[in-house]
């Protein structure tokens, strides 16, 4: 305690015995409790805003929920004039565009991620990853513009006729292609989600400890065998996470899809036909919705979208964290 008797050290208010209340007052005067409380209020504000969001969606869709119940999700009539609202065409459109986009994007994205993580020289890999990250930051409305002026004519004049003449016997590719339609929306979504898949998958692949690869190679495996039998299985949960993340993004994507899907609330087997998605119908009809039931049906669609993306994002995060911990937990 020689230090505290040193005259160079100034007053020491914290050490004086005071009792509980005095202690609290001292800290209050010191400002710590106030600062703690203040920041806590703002953190609670974040929670409050999020809860309020859920609450508003729930309350403002009450009328629609009570009127239609579960039938809302299985009826396909969307008739604002007679107040019949069924969400099936939108659910279908949202799901089908997302599924088709994933079918194209997952092999391409994971393949590219494998290349960047396993084969490409680190410098080139970092450069490409940087560019790909930038692409993930491009606003969706810009992808929409490119969709309208590049992908739509491409599908109308080249891809659509080709698919119809070659695979026209399948109901999937039957009928004329107008350009605007489910396939076009899926292609635009593909372009939008590929950067997500590549960037997250690459990261989890690179988190796989090097000794895993070395062990496989030392046992005589080829580069590909070490990748596909050791590295990819090790990172598989994380890759699945990146896919869920991309899926959540594709399901909730509004502008790009609205601009190219054709906005027609019908369910058709053909991918070339126009369709509609949940986000697109909200974007298009929300400001025009006359009558409480119409508006509330749209808000209920928003609630559905929220719940689905909530579940997918939660799953994605769990999977990614699980892989990264596994990678970090093994001594490298």
């Amino acid at each position: 305690m020689g230090v505290s008797s040193n005259p160079a050290v100034g007053h020491e208010p914290y050490l004086a015995p005071r009792g509980k209340v005095g202690d609290f007052l001292a800290r209050l005067r010191g400002g710590d409790e106030i600062a703690h409380l203040l920041t806590l209020i703002f953190a609670a504000g974040v929670i409050l805003i999020t809860s309020l969001l859920v609450y508003e969606l729930w309350i403002n869709s009450a009328l629609s929920r009570h009127t239609f119940g579960w039938k809302f999700f299985v009826t396909s009539v969307w008739d604002p004039v007679f107040n019949h609202f069924g969400a099936l065409p939108f659910l279908y459109g949202t799901v089908i565009t997302t599924v088709v986009a994933l079918i194209i994007a997952v092999p391409l994205g994971v393949g590219a991620a494998i290349f960047l993580a396993e084969l490409a020289p680190p410098r080139a890999s970092d450069m490409l990853a940087f560019v790909i990250d930038l692409l993930a930051a491009v606003p969706s409305v810009i992808y929409g513009v490119l969709g309208i002026f590049v992908v739509v004519p491409f599908v109308r004049t080249a891809l659509g006729p080709f698919l119809e003449s070659t695979f026209g016997f399948l109901p999937l590719f039957k009928g004329p292609s107008y350009g605007l339609g489910v396939l076009t929306a899926s292609l635009v979504l593909t372009i939008m989600i590929i950067p997500f898949i590549i960037s997250v998958s690459r990261e989890v692949l690179m988190a796989v400890p090097v000794d895993q690869r070395e062990a496989a190679l030392a046992l005589g495996a080829t580069r590909w065998e070490s990748t596909i039998r050791v590295v990819v299985p090790f990172a598989s949960t994380g890759i699945a996470g990146s896919i869920f993340l991309a899926m959540a993004r594709a399901l909730g994507e509004t502008m790009a899809v609205t601009m190219v899907i054709g906005n027609d609330p019908r369910i058709s087997a053909s991918l070339l036909a126009p369709g509609y998605s949940i986000a697109a119908v909200i974007a298009n009809e929300f400001t025009e919705a006359t009558g409480a039931l119409y508006l509330q049906a749209l808000i209920e669609l928003g609630l559905v979208l929220f719940l689905v993306t909530f579940i997918l994002n939660g799953l994605a995060r769990l999977l990614i964290v699980a892989t990264e911990q596994r990678g970090g937990g093994t001594p490298a």
């Binding site: 703002f42 810009i142 909730g252 997918l312």
Partner: protein, 282 residues
Amino acid sequence: MNLRTIWRKTLNVTMLSLTGACTLITVSVLFFILGYLVYNGGRDLSWNFFTKLPTPVGETGGGVANAIVGSAKLLFLAMLFGVPVGVIAGVYLAEFSGKTMNFVVRYTTDLLNGVPSIVIGIFAYSIVVVPMRHFSTLAGGFALGVMTIPITVRSTEQFLRAVPNPLREGALALGASKWKTILTVIVPAAASGIITGIMLALARVAGETAPLLFTAFGNQFWSPGWNQPIASLPMVIYTYATGPYEEWHEQAWAAGLVLLGLVLVVNIGTRLVLARKTSVAR
């Protein structure tokens, strides 16, 4: 070499080339698309574009000046609303919170971050537009502000945690109280990181269209004050690109290029700043 070895070697080369092809395809498609945007947008950029109001269809020489100012106003509001909440909540997470609260707040911000932007639009509509009974700049700014919160919270927390502990201990050992340490030592040390996070958040919401559709709504003219519907760049791009007129399409391309330039400059700039900072720290 036996047959199996040959097969394995062929498979190795084929599959690895295939992954290379995947990279080539995705990267070249992405580059083609952006190159096309730059080409088309650059052709239609002019001085008028930045300084004039939209003209009626058929007249040439119109611009999107009101949308550019509108986007700036919306972003200003978003910052005013989102940044204090985001940064202070981030400080709470990094400096004050216990384990449980940390988990709860983080989980909520992740949740908020994943909410589709159109749903944020519905939210802002029901708590700002409905009570006010009309679309307004305020509502649009609120919607964008909500979207900046999760990004700001997480980046602030991350950069505050990266501040070395000896700095904290040094300040506390000199007799500073905790809040003084945070305010005068820790936050300044992390300031460039925090600002980077804010910039990234703003760049992200600058391109958002869906939450503005039924909050800021759009406007053909100037929108004085904060209480009226207002135009914004992404909304203009959406309206013009989906419209029937050739002049509109040209303007949509040009506006797209401006928006993309803005977003990319912020993203590249902040990343470079961060890269330099981390390399210095090493």
